[in-house]
Amino acid sequence: MAASAAWPVNWVLKLVLAFVVALVALYTCRHVLFALNRLLGRQRHPYLDVDSADWPSVVVVVPAHNEEHVIGLALEALIDVDYPRDRYLVIPVDDRSTDATWAVIETWAARAPDIVRPRRREGGRPGKAAVLQEVTAELDATLMIVFDADYVPGRGLVKQLAAPFFDAEVGAVMGRVVPHNTERNLLTRLLDLERAGGYQVDQQARMNLELVPQYGGSVGGVRVSAVRAVGGWSEDAYAEDTDLTFRLLLHGFKTVYENRSECYEEVPEVWQERNRQIMRWAKGHNQVALRYAWRVLRSPMVGRLERIDALLLLGVFLLAPLLVVGFACAFALYLMGDPLLSNEALAVLGVVCFSSIGNYAAFFEIAAALHLDNSRRRLRLLPLNFVNFLASVLNVCRACYSLLVHDILLGRELRWEKTARYRGNGNGNGNGNGGHVNGAAGEVGR
């Protein structure tokens, strides 16, 4: 009697588990392909070697909210870049800072008045997307390059990011971000592994295979006319960068990844900030998935392989709750005495536990990235990545719940959250020497 009652439950669990395992296997195959392509395949860097040209006009936008400790270095580096002066502007935008950000910006604007044209926002919607939308509306330049206030670009970076736009089909370009505060603690070191896998292998493989590299919002640029053609920046998007990537794709533009265009960034140094970051990404990414997945499936502008990759890319943050469901099913089957299926399923799901969730950089993908980076010894931390996986899964699930319940069912408006900074007087050479959190992390806008 008990067995017959358990029979349908058993089969439902097996079906759900089989679906999750199949999905995980699909993603794993995708990332094996990426790793092999990056290691052994033909690498595409078609625009890297353009060093003499009639360069297009470029505006570098630096949105800043309470960035007094870091924005000076960014502006100093941006003033020093190698780009024709008559076609180059830097627009730092102080978005209602309550610290000395504006004073720092004014100091640098006074030093290079021909290049730096600061702006100050006192009203309107807060957040990066709103800043970019406002600047884009008034912009008289071909390209807009966006840097976060803690990014310190090298001299050649702006040219490298501008070069792909000679290709009329390119709508956005993305460079590689390299964490500079890796030495701080285990979290920063684990995030360094995640970034390496995500950029060095994942993004470059997608570039090589002509799939869908992702525009990431900083150390990247967009063609102003393309952004206008797709309706500007989405101010109601949690991840305006991913949102733009997909709108450009649907309109027929391509996003290009430039692996050689490297720039330092700060990664979160405390778990709470990391949790906020991955929740923001998950929410934004899933919002984009809900908005565009169906259109990606049907759009004639998207190639067949691009379509598959785009859908898998859109689904990457849905994997976390599915993994939890998969583990729960496997555990339930174990408790019901079906260890054979739960054994195999848990083995497949177990391998994922050492991957990073944000970009699904599987453990061998991280190994490939560090091998190419010639920084192999840090790979030894890989088994410890389990804690990052666990934290990420939990928080991505929270983000999915929040998007579904708070945003969709209850119709709550977008909450904009600022990323915490850790550098007090960082020198931008890779040795973050600050230690305190600058600004109120998680500050809520309207």
Partner: protein, 266 residues
Amino acid sequence: MAPRRPSTSRGLLERLRFQSHSGRLIRRHRALRRLDFERASIVHPVTLVAGSYALLLVACAPITAGWATTLRFWLPRLGLPDDIGVRERDVLGHVVYEVPFPLLQGALPDRSLLVTVGGSCLALMLLSWLLLRGRALPLAYLVWAGCVLELASCAMLWLAPAEFPHTVASHVANGLEFALLLLLATPLLLTFSFYVFDHSITRKAFGTAVIGAGIVLVAPYQYLVHTMLVEQLSLVVMPPLYVLFGLLFDIAVFVALYAWVVSWEP
């Protein structure tokens, strides 16, 4: 008359082109670097996979015999009966491997123990939520994961203790069998994740041996620990042991050793 062209050997020209003054190779920037697809890219994986399986075919029986010896050695010394059973797997009538396991049942917990364990889990979750902040936050996540599994086990053993399908014997047999399967899968797992790298074939072979040896050595002790804990604390601890310190632990051992061997200089 034009001077005779010097007999620049290919080696000398390569040295001039790609070596610095100190004789070090001038490497490409990491962004542009890739591995050359050469004969070794095919020969190494094929040779190592074939060699590993040939070796495993021979080594399977000694490995499981070694596990049986380890169990027989420790079980009486831990105050447990040393009766060993064997689970056979055969393909087309040919025995591929025999996995040993202790012939132990494990006791079902009584309800007071379930209440104690369940209450402890809830208290632990609450404490970890209150105390483990900042750097220790992931530790809290680990505690929660373990506690959730333990609470599920308590619920199962409270509601239907007779339906609990596992014994120490089946648990250890499953676990050791999984370790053996992981060992058998290792060469395949390494094909695309290690054998394609530019390490020498001897390093790759040695790395494979290190990973295999790690799995083989850890497995009996891992499941002896499980046996001890279940015998001491009853079957209530078996499910979390199965998930967190069973299969996932085996995979963690594989990943840890993989990370170590791949981190060696090529």
